[in-house]
Amino acid sequence: MMIRKAFWAVLLVLSVAMIVYGGFFRKFLVYDNLEKFDQLKNVGIKIKIPGYQQEGKEFKAQSEWFSEPEMVNAMTFVGIRRYKDGRLISNYPDLRMLRGRRPCPS
C-alpha cells in the first residue's frame, strides 16, 4: 500500500510539473506566413493586421514566441502549420492575427 501511495504521489507531482511547465514556461517560436501575405497583396486584397496599420510600420518578416495556451487558442482555428523546413508558421498572413481570437467551428 505504501508503494502504491508513493507511486501515486510521484505521478501527481509529475503531472503538476507538466501542467506548470507547459502552461507557464514552454514557448513555441512561430513565424509569419509571408508567401500568403504577398499572394494576397499581389491580387489587391488588403489585410488589416492589428498594430500594423496604426503604427504605420513597414511590414517585416517576424517571429513571436507563443505559450502553450496561446498555441491552443491559435490551433483551434487551424492557425498554425509546419513549413517545409519544419518551422512553425502562421496560416494567416501575419502571425499577430493569431492572437486574441475566439475559436471557430471544427
Binding site: 501527481l12 503538476v16 511547465y21 498555441m71 491552443v72 512553425l88
Partner: protein, 257 residues
Amino acid sequence: MEKLRLKVQILSAVLLNLGIYQWHGICFPVLNCYSCPISVFSCPIGIIGQFTGLGLISLTAVGGIALGGLIAGRFLCGWVCPFGLVQELLYKIPYVKFSIPRWTRFVKYGVFAGLVVAVPYFFSTESPLYFCRLCPVATIESAVPWALWQGTTNAVHLALRLGILLAIVVMVMGHRRFFCKVICPLGACLSVFNRLAAIFPGRDSSCIECTICNQVCPMESSPGKRSSGVFEHTPEECIGCLECQKKCPTKAIRIWG
C-alpha cells in the same frame, strides 16, 4: 445518491458551458468541445489531436488528464462529463435494451491511438477521419450550432457527422453508457489512472458476493456473470457512479480506494 449525481452532472454541464469566460488555455478532463462558443475550458482530446498534427505533445493536456485521473479517475465520467449526462437521459427513453460483447471496451483504446493520435500525425487535423471531425459532442456543441448560425460549406461532412451522432444516440438508448464504454478516447486515457485514483470504490469483508453490484453497474457489459462489481474485475471501467453502493445489502462498498 442518484439524485445528487444528477444534480452534480447538470451543474457541471452548466458551469462548463457558462459562456461568460473562455479559459481555453486550461484543459479540463471531460469531453466538452471547445469549439463551442460558450464552453469555458478546452477539451484535452482536441488539444492532443491538434498538437499531434504538428508533431508536438501538449504537456498541459497530458498533465491535465493525468492530474484529473489521479485524483478522480473516471469518476469524472460518471459525475462531471456533460455527454455522460446526455447518455444517461437518453437511456431513460423506452427502447430495446441490449448487451454488448465484453471485448468492445478495448475499441476506445484503438480510437485514441488511431483517430486522435495517428490520423492527425500521419495525415492532418483536416482529415475527415480525425476524431474531432467525427466526435458526437463536437457535432452537438459546435458543428450543428455553427451550421445553423452561419451555414456550412461541407454539407456531406456535416451529414456524415449527423449520421454518426444518430447511430451513437440509438446505441446509447439501447445500451447504457455505450459511448463511454466503447468509443470515448478520453475515457480510455482516464481509465489508465483509474485504479490509482484517490476516489475509487472498493469492497470490505462484509461482502456476501450476492452479485447485485455487478447487476446494477452501468459499465458492466454482461451483467450477472461476475461475483463482484466492475470496480474489482475491470477497475479501468468503473465510473464511480456508486449505484453498487446504493444497492449493496451489506453496505460493503466504500468510496475511497
